[in-house]
């Protein structure tokens, strides 16, 4: 089973990015300070700027990924829960259209066919809302 613990993985990745950014910033700011003979305060400022430039975009991307993962999971759950009542509704209509409980007239058949077509439309919308759904032939 895939590891779905996305928040923990993203927290770990953020921590790693911060550590790498701090180390990189430390080395770069020290080097720049030594080369240009800058005062200690300048070294700290340069380090801070490098950390922000390195870490912020990466953290932002990870945050967006976390949010989109949560939203996708939520949509997937809703889509799945809608499928069963839809399936029941569709089969109920099909059973009457196939005259299994008894005969129906043309008008009844036409109305039920309209209902069935729109159930199919709704099922199609759910499939679109949930990418990756649908049969994968074994």
């Amino acid at each position: 089973m895939k590891n779905n613990n996305i928040p923990a993985r993203i927290a770990g990745a953020i921590f790693l990015i911060i550590v790498i950014a701090i180390i990189t910033a430390g080395i770069c700011s020290k080097t720049i300070s030594d080369v240009f003979q800058l005062p200690p305060m300048a070294e700290y400022i340069i380090a801070g700027v490098i950390i922000i430039l390195l870490a912020c975009p990466a953290i932002f991307v990870l945050f967006i990924r976390l949010i989109s993962g949560v939203v996708k999971k939520y949509i997937g759950t809703i889509a799945h829960d809608l499928k069963t009542p839809l399936a029941i509704t569709k089969e109920s209509i099909n059973l009457v259209l196939d005259k299994i409980p008894g005969p129906i007239n043309e008008d009844q058949a036409r109305i039920l066919t309209t209902a069935k077509n729109n159930v199919d439309r709704l099922a199609g919308m759910i499939d679109v809302a949930r990418p990756g759904a649908g049969i994968k032939k074994p």
Binding site: K83, T84, A87, I88, E91, P101, G132, I135, P138
Partner: protein, 128 residues
């Protein structure tokens, strides 16, 4: 001619009823169960020609029931009922030799044709 018996296992009462009506209209005798323990008891008692298993149920789910059925009978057609599929479920279902899948929102009359074909192949194999 004796009707072929099919065992349906699903905790969703309404879907169970609709599928039962559809199978009976196709000349099958239907036995139903709403949970894993009832399903295994009826499987042993009724000796169905095929089993339809809902994959997501509280307690014992369809895949757990499939594993237990396969310990007793490796040849009986077993179909997994699902609203959606995912790769992991297919992988596990194929590992335990599920005969196929019934997608709830598909045309059930067509899905039943697959069940009929599978029962035919299984009985030919057993020499009935």
């Amino acid at each position: 001619m004796t009707k072929k018996k099919v065992l349906i296992v699903d905790d969703e009462v309404d879907f169970l009823e609709m599928l039962k009506l559809r199978l009976e209209a196709n000349n099958y005798a239907v036995v139903t169960a709403r949970d894993g323990n009832d399903a295994l008891e009826k499987f042993k008692k009724e000796k169905p020609a095929a089993v339809l298993l809902d994959i997501l149920m509280p307690g014992m789910d369809g895949l757990d029931i499939l594993k237990k059925i396969r310990k007793d009978d490796t040849k009986i057609p077993v179909f997994i009922i699902t609203a959606f599929s995912n790769e992991e479920r297919f992988r596990v279902a194929n590992k335990f030799n599920a005969s196929g899948f019934i997608v709830k929102t598909n045309d059930l009359q067509k899905e039943i044709q697959n069940i009929t074909a599978a029962i035919g192949i299984s009985e030919d194999f057993k020499g009935k």
